[in-house]
């Protein structure tokens, strides 16, 4: 098990992003606000007072092409060198960061922000209202140098203008109300960068971006690491931080160790102080030897979207039969060895507030039920290998996934499902597809697959709007890869979104949840996480659960001699 889920989540995120032909995948991740679940907090207050000094050697996973941008790998990095307008707590509350205060007009269309005084970018320029406005206008422009692939798709439809109203005050006007605005601002990709530095172009900024954050990018040795140096003048930590002022550690050596053996090995040998994602096979070992910091994400679970617009999955009985035909709980245990929980609720992750826990017990492995459903659905013919057919057409299920992104742990689940579903008469075929082909849309034509594994991280059930909106008025919902068209479901979702009362909203969302599980447009097996393993002498590294769980090093310190 090994490449723990975080790796996988990052990958699948990217896959989805490619596949769904839109920037919005990123948005969805950005919305992962409410996810808390069993995040382990790095408390350890008893360890004594934080002491200054040392360089944290952090073994990360993938290297992005630029140090900031829309990919989750870039978010992790940007969190280190830039600050956001607002911060988001684990419980979803919006707290001050660069904005010390803000107000919203009654029509919910005008936001006024008060910016913290005396904040400087690390190139010496001042972070004032003008700088924030310049950033926002850049994100939402068509200038490829400044455009923000996360904020753009969220806000371009609703944004009207941003204006400076004083040296430290600014006003943002929307065309229509948009409640998630502050959530968007709280995400790392919306960190404020020095407008002066941005003028020197993307090539330069990708290498050495300038923000006001706790660390300064000193050098990016491509293929190897990014060297961060402490910002000695840091005075703009968010309210979620454990302390104000400069980071305790002198810097971070952010190493790209894509190989899990090397990454975990480097922690074992003491060459790294912190590593991302523990290989599943080492999960037990890691738990007994190291401190684990973990964030389980909300939104949809990691699921197999079943293409329900054409046979065989246009028949709900076949979808249900498929769900019954595999023991996914055992598969997840086998593949992830306890490093990730089983998730049997096809609709929602267990860390979402609207989660109905008994739904996770549905569709437990039952080969007889699967056979019965398939018989009913007319898939009665069987060939020598036991593969079912209907009207001479064999029951072939093709699963397209990117092998470049899917670590063997994930493959493992698919292979187990493949093997088990055979007993029910499914001929499951795996179609690993490399990244470049993915980008070129290979194996992703409407007739090229029956199943695609995907997930969508979000705070909670609001994700339904994206995943289950049917194609209405001829407008195709590109984010619904199972092509599941359920207008009554959509009505329930809309009702929930408009419900003012929280309890009523949750009830409606749960109604939708049950309907989704019952109709099984997708079959889930686990959820995603961000996990760090820490050496004993490192304290107070936490994950920014308000966003996607970016590691935060500004409160971290070493105990004992380093």
């Amino acid at each position: 098990m090994s490449k723990p889920a975080a790796v996988r989540s990052a990958f699948l995120l990217k896959d989805l992003k490619c596949r769904l032909k839109s920037h919005a995948a990123i948005i969805a991740v950005a919305m992962s606000g409410l996810t808390i679940a069993d995040a382990v907090k790095a408390e350890d207050a008893s360890a004594g007072k934080p002491q200054s000094g040392g360089i944290i050697r952090y073994g990360h996973f993938q290297e992005p092409p630029c140090l900031y941008g829309g990919w989750v790998q870039q978010w992790y990095l940007q969190r280190q060198f830039s600050d956001n307008l607002v911060a988001r707590a684990e419980d979803g509350r919006i707290l001050p960061w660069l904005a010390t205060a803000w107000s919203v007009s009654d029509d919910r269309k005008t936001y006024t922000f008060q910016i913290k005084p005396d904040v400087k970018f690390t190139d010496g320029t001042t972070l004032d209202a003008q700088a924030v406005v310049d950033n926002i206008n850049g994100w939402l422009s068509d200038n490829p140098e400044l455009e923000n692939p996360t904020a753009g798709p969220y806000l371009k439809g609703v944004f009207e203008s941003a204006a400076v109203t004083g040296p430290l005050t600014l006003k943002i006007t929307l065309k229509t109300p948009f409640e998630p605005l502050l959530n968007v601002f709280a995400q790392s990709s919306q960190g404020i960068l020095s407008p002066r530095a941005l003028k020197s172009g993307k090539a330069v900024n990708c290498e050495s971006p300038v923000g006001s954050g706790p660390f300064i990018v000193e050098k990016w040795n491509r293929g190897k690491n990014v060297i961060f140096r402490r910002n000695p003048n840091y005075n703009s930590a968010p309210a979620t931080a454990k302390h104000q002022g400069p980071a305790y550690v002198e810097g971070i050596e952010w190493r790209f160790l894509a190989d899990p053996t090397i990454r975990y090995g480097s922690l074992l040998t003491g060459e790294s102080d912190v590593v991302y994602h523990i290989p599943a096979v080492n999960w037990q070992d890691a738990n007994s030897h190291f401190k684990i910091v973990r964030h389980l994400t909300g939104g949809t679970p990691l699921r197999l979207a079943l293409y329900s617009e054409r046979p065989p999955f246009d028949d709900v009985r076949v979808r249900q039969a498929f769900a019954y035909s595999s023991d996914r709980r055992a598969a997840v245990q086998a593949a992830f060895l306890g490093s990730l929980p089983y998730e049997g609720n096809f609709a929602l992750s267990q860390s979402s507030p609207e989660y109905v826990s008994d739904l996770s017990k549905s569709y437990s492995y039952d080969i007889e039920k699967a056979n019965k459903l398939l018989d009913e659905a007319g898939w009665t013919e069987r060939d020598a290998n036991g593969i079912r057919a209907k009207n001479g057409k064999p029951l072939i299920i093709r699963i397209t996934y990117t092998n470049a992104f899917s670590p063997p742990d994930g493959d493992q689940v698919l292979q187990i499902i493949q093997q088990q579903a055979k007993a029910a008469g499914f001929d499951v075929r795996l179609q690993p597809t490399n990244q470049a082909d993915f980008w070129a849309g290979k194996n992703f034509g409407p007739n090229d697959y029956e199943i695609v594994p995907l997930y969508w991280v979000a705070p909670g059930a609001e994700i339904y709007r994206i995943s289950y909106k049917p194609d209405l008025n001829g407008v195709r919902n590109p984010f619904n890869p199972s092509r599941y068209q359920d207008v009554p479901l959509w009505d329930i979702i809309q009702k929930a979104e408009q419900a003012a009362d929280k309890a009523q909203r949750i009830a409606l969302y749960q109604q939708a949840e049950r309907r989704i599980v019952e109709n099984a447009p997708s079959v889930s097996y686990t959820i995603l996480d961000v996990t760090l393993a820490l050496a004993d002498n490192v304290k107070d590294i936490w994950l920014d659960s308000g966003s996607v769980g970016e590691p935060v090093f500004s409160d971290a310190y070493f105990t004992g001699k380093k």
């Binding site: 490619c18 092409p65 090539a203 491509r222 293929g223 090995g265 074992l268 490399n434 980008w439």
Partner: protein, 320 residues
């Protein structure tokens, strides 16, 4: 007069070799240029998707804009001409994905690859020379086992060997760093993984020639002068046996980049290999072409170096 003739010969030979080397590099450049049209997907689309994280059709105006910016709307032959002209000026273009000139990207990553390749080659030679001189052509079990051992090494997948070395020597025994980077200690394991495979081939080539040479009359002749065995091996036989080894080294260097890709992946090292794989998987064509071109040029250069070395060791070649 004799000397003048030799120099004349040599510069003539050198000029011819350089010319054919240039042709090879040009052919490689041309090949990679035209291969990009074989790859699925339209370039503008790839660039757009790479920069925005998107896939599939893109807005027509965006497509046109990118086509215009990169000159994709020009006839292929014009694009080719421009490409060759740029290459001749040392400009390998701009990465589609990485916001960097290709030359910068390569310049920054080529060092570790060359260091690894050089260290591996050097190590392989040292092991080859040591084992050959000590064990080859003797009437004992070691001598017999040597060839088998080399054949065995040649059949080990180098990245597999790398993994085993990494786990045993770095993670279990902690003799070497897991994340070595470019430190000397960090270079040891990747070097060994690559060098042992090279040694498998190199050693066999040198060994068989060494064994053959030991039976040559001039070796007997030297022994008949009272020269000691070790001296005969070192001063006479080794030079001869090294020749096929050097020629083989030229070939191996040509294949070293491919091997280095895997070794770099195993050990998480920087290097051209990683650049090539990333670029290929993202269809970052300028980078792909650049890496291919540079490695072809490296290959040509090392071949030339190898030939020069062979001619230095074996002056008879001058006349051939």
């Amino acid at each position: 007069m004799n000397a003048v003739k030799t120099i004349g010969n040599r510069s003539f030979w050198l000029a011819r070799r350089l010319l054919s080397g240039l042709i090879v590099v040009w052919a490689a450049a041309t090949f990679t240029f035209f291969v990009q049209f074989l790859m699925p997907g339209e370039r503008a689309q790839i660039i757009f998707n790479a920069n925005t994280g998107n896939v599939g059709e893109i807005p027509r105006d965006q497509l046109l804009a990118i086509n215009a910016r990169y000159g994709f709307n020009q006839p292929v032959i014009v694009q080719y001409g421009k490409y060759i002209r740029d290459v001749m000026h040392g400009d390998l273009g701009q990465s589609y994905v990485q916001y960097q000139p290709v030359t910068d990207l390569i310049a920054r990553q080529i060092g570790p690859t060359i260091a690894l390749a050089f260290a591996a080659m050097l190590t392989a030679w040292i092991i080859t020379i040591t084992t050959t001189v000590l064990f080859a052509g003797r009437d004992n079990i070691w001598s017999k086992a040597l060839g088998g051992f080399q054949a065995f090494l040649a059949t080990l997948p180098p990245y597999w060997l790398g993994t085993i070395l990494l786990v045993v020597f770095a993670i279990q025994l902690r003799l070497f760093p897991v994340v070595g980077g470019n430190t000397l200690m960090g270079l040891v394991l990747p070097t060994m993984a690559l060098a042992l495979e090279i040694y498998g081939f190199l050693g066999q080539a040198v060994l068989s020639e060494f064994t053959r040479v030991l039976d040559q009359p001039f070796i007997t002749s030297s022994r008949m002068r009272g020269t000691g065995d070790f001296s005969v091996r070192l001063r006479h036989a080794l030079r001869h046996a090294a020749l096929p080894g050097i020629t083989l080294s030229g070939w191996i260097i040509g294949k070293l980049l491919s091997g280095a890709v895997l070794i770099e992946a195993v050990f998480g090292r920087q290097g051209l290999g990683g650049v090539l794989v990333t670029a290929t998987s993202t269809r970052d064509i300028p980078v792909v072409s650049g890496v291919i071109l540079v490695s072809a040029a490296l290959f040509v250069a090392t071949s030339l170096f190898v030939d020069l070395t062979v001619r230095l060791i074996d002056p008879r070649m001058k006349e051939a």
